[in-house]
Amino acid sequence: MKKIFLLLSIMLCNVSSKAFCGFYVAKADAKLFNKSSQVIMVRDGNKTTITMANDYIGNVKDFAMVVPVPTVLTENDIFVLKTNLFEKLDAYSAPRLVEYYDENPCNNRYSEERESAIPTIKSVSMNSVAEMDKADLGVTIEAKFSVGEYDILILSATESNGLATWLIQNGYKIPPQANEVLTPYIKSNMKFFVVKVNLEAQQSTGTNKLRPIQLKFESPKFMLPIRLGMANSNGFQDLIIYTISKIGRVECTNYRTAPMPTGQMIPEFIKNDFGNFYQKVFNTTWKNENMNTILLEYAWNISSNNYVKCDPCVGNPPDYNDIADAGANSAGALYFTRLHVRYDRAHYAQDLIFQETPNQQNFQVRYVITHTVTGNLNCTEANAYYKKVLLRRYAEIENLNILTANTYPANRDYIKQYESLYGSPIEDDRKIRAIRKGGFDGGGEINAKQDDTKYTLIGFMIIMLMMVILRMPLNKKL
């Protein structure tokens, strides 16, 4: 079990990525590419605490980050946390694979249930550096301090050209879209939180990893500024948001939030390839939802008086210390949500705005594989068992194809094995025929569902329009 976990974790280490919140302004001409990042958001009344993971891999001299914040932060509002908080939350709330074992039909045996899970795509590295310079371009340095291994400036600017020039003068390559992106924040009187690494302080931490940065501020707006991170990106970026609220589930108000498909039975051969499988499922679901929907991966009541914090558990639930580190107060009701958004400039014009809802429903993404009984079965019930397994395997392949839009190649032997054991061919069902015909090869992307819906709706609209035009009397009082 542990071996599986280890294997899966190793398989999932992704190397590159940048954080979402700021844009990465590189000193060198390195190609900037935001891939994925993680954020914890804690909301309590009007107080927001945001913690940003920092898995930068590369030369720490080149690291820098810019985040818009509503107020000038003081040194007491900024913290640097230990690195494993994100791994822990990721492991706790990741989509999980559950195994069941069939009972031997020939004799009684207890079925066992075991769990294994996959942490999702690991986050990010950032690679650029901001150096400090006091040029008068309408840029005011409101505050300056060091926290942990970071040197932090809070800037306010009067116009985006000034801020952009200030950054350029300090040797950063500004992405061409940066001006457009900075202006609304400047006009809304937001400040800019600029971070770079203090090399001496970083060396004294003894580790090469950069630690997460946490900001606390008070604002009636509960939002996440993702637009800056899009300025230097080459395509889609993934962002995983963990939220902790005292009220209930957190959801986005200006973009649709939809749950990931969960609970399906999938074939046994996924067991050692769950990471790849889940990436395909996510990709398919995201495309089906028109690429502008936030996907819910986990939601659970983690109040201290709720003893069942996961079911099945694949990682330890956050304990008192973790919750305190994230900035939440663990007394009373506490609710954890995990959202996964994949965004780009074309599909997300606005920053994400959230609301805490009193929704207390628990949700998790969980897929089920059922191991069949191995070995020879010599009893009268064996044939019925083979038939049951065969039908179930067809269903599992069908689920696989639906979940991954036929992009996951399935093994034909998976069915053949039990077809030969069962002996006679299974009754022809339309679905089974379809699977036999085309369902094994992983033949490529099928976007049929999405287009189908769109054209149906448009056709329906045209019909309605015709009805309106034909029925509307000319002298009707409007």
Partner: protein, 282 residues
């Protein structure tokens, strides 16, 4: 067949019921709304039963059940709660409040609207999923075309147009001209299902919107202004819902003031004419 269709088409409420059912089906099947069967049934049955009780007690017209059905469907789409008891309570309130707060023979508040607001204010078990429709061209097409059918039948196109246009103008001035957000921010907001549903289906209820065209335009502009202020300066979620509740609540007061001043000016002009007549005949 045609006669049946004519009969069906004659009452705007029939069309609205069908369209709300269509929205519900689309939402559940395509948009993955989390709508629970038992809760929806409770809302439906409670609204209809409460309305039936009131009709029997007040010896009213049984066709009012259609309005109750519309309220029930709107609540099923909009109202999100954890507990069924809350859904029951909100449904009873939505129908009952029609008969408590009345002015000039009509009920003051839009029933589904005020019930949701009361739920948001006084229970901690109600929320509105403002993003549940998403945004985009298909949503815009769907809601606006179906909406135009209902709204033109009810004779309330002026309300819808005024609200959307005035809200759009205010938002444009603030977001694009003043704050320099890119234009697709406006597209994202104004193709959002929640705001379109609101402007086509909620504020166009003939029973709660004013009777004359001028009044309706003033009313719609008022709602747009309050929505704009609440959304942009107080960051209220689902601002149009609150704006509608506020404006409909304040409207009778406004009418009273307007009528009083009219009467005042009328009586003044009467007195003046009497004076002139007296002077003339003296």
């Amino acid at each position: 067949m045609i006669k049946l269709f004519n009969n069906y088409y004659a009452d705007a409420r029939n069309i609205q019921i069908s369209i709300l059912i269509v929205f519900l089906i689309i939402g559940i099947a395509f948009l993955h709304w989390e709508i629970f069967l038992l809760k929806s049934l409770v809302i439906l049955v409670t609204c209809l039963l409460t309305q039936a009780l009131v009709i029997a007690y007040l010896k009213g017209n049984w066709s009012t059940l259609k309005s109750a059905l519309i309220t029930a469907l709107s609540l099923i789409i909009l109202l999100k709660t954890n507990f069924i008891s809350t859904a029951f309570l909100i449904s009873v309130i939505s129908i009952g409040i029609k008969y408590i707060f009345r002015y000039n023979g009509k009920h003051i508040f839009n029933p589904s609207n005020i019930a949701i607001i009361i739920g948001l204010l006084f229970t901690n078990d109600v929320w509105v999923a403002t993003g549940q429709w998403g945004s985009g061209f298909e949503i815009l097409l769907l809601i606006s075309i179906l909406g135009i059918v209902v709204v033109s039948k009810a004779g309330r196109v002026d309300t819808t147009l005024t609200f959307i246009v005035s809200y759009f103008i205010m938002q444009w001035i603030r977001s694009v001209w003043f704050l320099h957000w890119p234009v697709d921010v406006m597209w994202q907001t104004f193709t959002g299902g929640n705001i379109l549903l609101f402007s086509f289906f909620m504020i166009t209820d003939p029973a709660t919107s004013p009777n004359t065209r001028i009044e309706r335009i003033v009313w719609a502009i008022g709602i747009a202004i309050v929505s704009f202020v609440l959304a942009n300066f107080y960051f209220v979620n689902a601002a149009p819902l609150w704006a509608l509740a506020i404006i409909t609540g304040v409207w009778p007061l406004y009418k009273l003031v307007v009528n009083h001043s009219k009467q005042l000016s009328l009586s003044k002009s009467n007195a003046f004419q009497k004076y002139i007549f007296k002077r003339h005949t003296m």
